[in-house]
């Protein structure tokens, strides 16, 4: 992003520092400093890596959500979809293990990506072809996916085959040169997301559709196609998150991914993406996901506030973030 972009766009000349888009990173830095002051263990490499790794799921799904929200859409089904994809993936892997051995993991991951993309496509098509509000459609599919995982796990736990555990474990717990794999995967997803959003025609059309769908249509942009594609990207991101998630607990349950949709939307919005569409901030979304996870971590470490109140603090953060945004953009 850095210097090349600024050189190539002289129209940026004369614009002051964009405090609005820096705000999530400033907030992130402030919370890190706060954490360090409250408990010196917070800055321990182990703890930090742990926190960052745990935020990977929300960050990965958040990248997809950034696309959806930037087109003016909303996806409430991501948490349930994650659980559903996880369930399908485990069933596939368990079914293929006798014939494929450890290769069943790759097959399962491939199936997960396809199922994720199809779930997204389903959401997108119902919304664009059926002309129904994204809120309503994904509220419906949220229930459907959740019911499916409950049905598949028979209300209990759906575990992966014991023989796969050792081979699959490193995807969540392993590292490359000290950087955990989930963090590397997140980085890849974010880089691809940023490239799509800021460097391609598709990205330009995403923000155009979110900014004003009529203008986009009158300019020859296929509005429905752009919207549907955003949901497909969201589905693929959910699948990637599922692939990282399965080795963590080795199982899917009816509560897997519950309420993640709220965390994802919170991360996206804290990150500076406009909920009404038209402005996308992929890196901001990552900052948002980190902020949520770090707050939870600091609260656990601090003993000052009960960790049962984590959600309350996160809820307060999103409101404060929005107030700050209103305050800075009003001037």
């Amino acid at each position: 992003m850095s210097s090349i972009e600024i050189k190539a766009t002289p129209e940026r000349e004369g614009i002051s520092i964009p405090w609005g888009s820096l705000a999530p990173f400033i907030a992130l830095a402030a919370i890190v400093v706060l954490g360090a002051l409250i408990n010196s263990n917070f800055l321990a490499a182990n703890n930090l890596l742990n926190v960052i790794t745990r935020s990977a799921f929300i960050a990965i799904i958040g990248v997809g959500a950034t696309f959806v929200i930037a087109t003016g859409g909303l996806d409430l089904s991501v948490g349930s979809m994650m659980a559903f994809v996880t369930g399908i993936m485990i069933l596939t892997m368990n079914g293929l293990t006798p014939s494929l051995g450890p290769w069943a993991i790759l097959a399962g991951a491939g199936v997960a990506l396809v199922v994720g993309a199809l779930c997204g496509l389903l959401n997108g098509l119902i919304i664009t072809v059926g002309r129904i509000e994204p809120f309503i459609v994904t509220l419906g599919t949220m229930g459907i996916f959740r019911a499916f995982i409950t049905f598949m796990s028979d209300g209990g736990s759906l575990s992966i085959d014991r023989s796969l555990r050792e081979a699959y474990r490193p995807v969540y717990f392993g590292d490359f040169l000290g950087v955990p794999y989930p963090v590397l995967i997140t980085l890849c997803v974010v880089l691809i997301g940023a490239f799509l959003l800021y460097r391609t025609k598709y990205g330009r059309r995403v923000t155009a559709v979110g900014s004003n769908a009529d203008v986009a249509q009158f300019s020859g942009v296929h509005v429905g196609g752009v919207r549907t594609m955003a949901f497909v990207i969201q589905g693929i991101c959910v699948a990637v998150a599922a692939i990282c998630y399965v080795p963590r607990l080795g199982a899917a349950t009816p509560t897997t991914g519950q309420l993640w949709e709220l965390q994802v939307i919170t991360a996206v919005v804290i990150g500076g993406t406009l909920l009404r569409g038209g402005k996308a901030r992929v890196w901001g979304t990552v900052a948002g996901a980190l902020i949520l996870e770090i707050i939870a971590n600091v609260m656990v470490l601090s003993d000052m506030v009960s960790e049962y109140l984590v959600a309350a603090v996160q809820g307060t953060i999103i409101i404060i973030a929005m107030l700050a945004h209103r305050f800075t953009s009003a001037r």
Binding site: E5, A8, T9, P10, E11, R12, E13, G14, I15, R199, T200, K201, Y202, G203, R204, R205, T207, A208, S211, N212, D214, V215, A216, Q217, F218, S219, G220, V221, H222, G278, K279
Partner: protein, 517 residues
């Protein structure tokens, strides 16, 4: 033209209802209004004219409490007043009727009029009383709507009347009208001007902002001219001709507003439409467009001109027996296909459908031609930047910085940006819907020049316009639409305001085919 109202009383000499002395306004470092002194007397229509960016809207905001002055003082009936907000100004009897329609589409007319000040009986809203009062003011402004009609179902012209009706619910000393006729067709303009005269005769002081100089000449008693934030002066309207007003506005002698005509083109059609049916037969028509001509489309607002051409563009459901565009045969138009074949449409709704107001100029300019500028998957940022440089130069888009958002441009510059945007696709036929709506006379003549240039370069231009002088001044040939059908074709000397109005307004049976009366 139907502006036949005559002025009655001589210019009012009553003591001013509202006086501004030395009014100034700065936004940050930028002074947008300097030292404005004027008074508005009861029983007069005081017109404010000036090019876009001259400071008219800022002045309106200061007078109506929507903004506070950074210098100078307001007086009402000789006493100093300061308004913190529009509510205080309204309480003092000053009301601004916005140019844009600010109504809630899903509420009824009465609910809109009383929004925020509902009448009540105890805890319950008193719908009956509100509907009764609404019916009274609707009658006063000559609206045919009922108080219980949903606003969203009403045409734009009616909504404009509702805004004025809302301003009249209470007794007003000063009514400020910001380009009230910008969205109206000629007969509706007449009705509105009558209402304004009625108000004046009741002793209301009226401040009237308009781009239509002929309106100012017929309606106003005095006129104040602004230019670049300065006040040029106040005159009795009888002292100035329209031409003199225009020259004071732009600060120079005006060249001919319309470029010379090109004459009827005899070339083979570049676009040939046979029986295009839009929205399931509501709008139906056939037409040919030849290279090197400006084809004007006349008609009343609501005649279906915009709908027909949006259909031709593939922006509505439409089906034709045959469309031949640059040799390509098409029966069901869709936007991408039509654009690829060389047709573009410049919408009348600049802010709603034309530009991304929150986006910068670059993305706006290239949105329609993304594939042409960026052959690959990736964006070609260098290409985009140089496209913007070229467009700003070629279309004379005046901006302080290329990095600002399109919404911050004046109407004229927005229109030029929009024109540059649709021309990026290098079309051979350009449809322009209301090319100069809401823009000032300097930019108008520039846009006429652009249209002339592109037609002389061998392209064709279809101009849909509700401004008769514009239609007559620009078009080599005119089609008139009425009730969703083309009812007349005019060429050469037949193109007069009278003929267009006659064809647009008269009974279809008598106007079928050509009219020459």
């Amino acid at each position: 033209m139907s502006l036949t109202l005559t002025k009655s009383a001589p210019v009012s000499t009553a003591a001013p209802a509202l006086t501004a002395r030395g009014l100034s306004k700065c936004y940050g470092q930028i002074e947008v209004l300097r030292d404005i002194t004027l008074d508005i007397r009861p029983g007069e229509v005081h017109a404010i004219i000036g090019e876009n960016g001259a400071g008219k809207s800022t002045l309106m905001k200061l007078l109506s409490g929507h903004a506070t002055p950074t210098g100078g003082q307001l007086f009402m009936d000789g006493k100093k007043v300061n308004f913190a907000d529009a509510v205080q100004a309204e309480a003092a009897g000053i009301v601004l009727v916005h140019q844009e329609i600010l109504l809630a589409a899903d509420l009824t007319v009465a609910q809109n009029l009383f929004l925020g000040r509902e009448l009540s009986r105890g805890f319950m809203v008193d719908d009956r009383a509100m509907n009764r009062r609404t019916a009274e003011v609707l009658a006063q402004v000559g609206s045919t709507a009922r108080p219980t009609d949903r606003v969203g179902d009403q045409p734009l012209a009616q909504r404009q009347l509702f805004q004025i009706a809302r301003a009249l619910l209470d007794d007003r000393k000063v009514v400020i009208l910001d380009e009230p006729t910008a969205m109206l067709a000629n007969d509706e303009v007449d009705a509105l001007l009558r209402i304004v005269r009625d108000l004046r005769d009741q002793g209301v002081a009226i401040l009237y902002i308009s781009h239509r100089l002929e309106e100012v000449e017929t309606l106003a008693d005095r006129v104040t001219i602004l230019r670049d934030g300065d006040m040029i002066g106040t005159w009795n309207v009888s002292e100035l001709s329209q031409r003199q007003m225009a020259e004071q506005m732009v600060g120079r002698k005006l060249d001919m507003l319309y470029p010379p005509k090109r004459g009827t083109s005899k070339d083979a059609p570049i676009l040939d439409v046979t029986a295009l049916s839009v929205d399931g037969g509501k709008f139906v028509g056939s037409l040919v467009v030849r290279p090197g001509e400006v084809l004007g489309i006349g008609g009343m607002i609501g005649a279906g001109r915009t709908e027909f051409f949006e259909g031709l563009m593939g922006l509505r459901t439409a089906q034709a027996d045959k469309i031949v565009l640059n040799g390509e045969s098409i029966t069901s138009p869709n936007v991408k296909r039509m654009m690829a074949a060389g047709l573009v449409y410049l919408t009348e709704d600049r802010k709603g459908k034309g530009l991304l107001l929150n986006d910068r100029l670059g993305p706006n300019l290239t949105l329609q031609a993304l594939d042409a500028i960026n052959p690959g998957f990736q964006l070609n940022r260098k290409g985009e930047a140089s496209a913007l440089d070229v467009a700003v130069e070629e279309y004379d888009i005046r901006v302080r910085s290329l990095g600002i958002e399109a919404g911050k441009l004046s109407g004229g510059n927005q229109q030029k940006l929009l024109l540059a945007k649709v021309m990026m696709a290098d079309p051979s036929v350009v449809i322009i819907d209301e090319p100069t709506r809401g823009i000032d006379i300097g930019n108008k003549s520039q846009i006429y020049k652009f249209i002339d240039d592109l037609v002389r370069a061998g392209r064709a231009c279809v101009v849909i316009s509700s401004e008769l002088p514009e239609l007559v001044g620009l078009a080599d040939r005119v089609l008139v639409m009425r009730g969703g059908r083309f009812v007349a074709e005019l060429e050469g000397a037949e193109i007069t305001e009278q003929n267009v109005v006659y064809a647009a307004a008269s009974n279809r049976k008598t106007a079928e085919g050509r009219t020459g009366t």
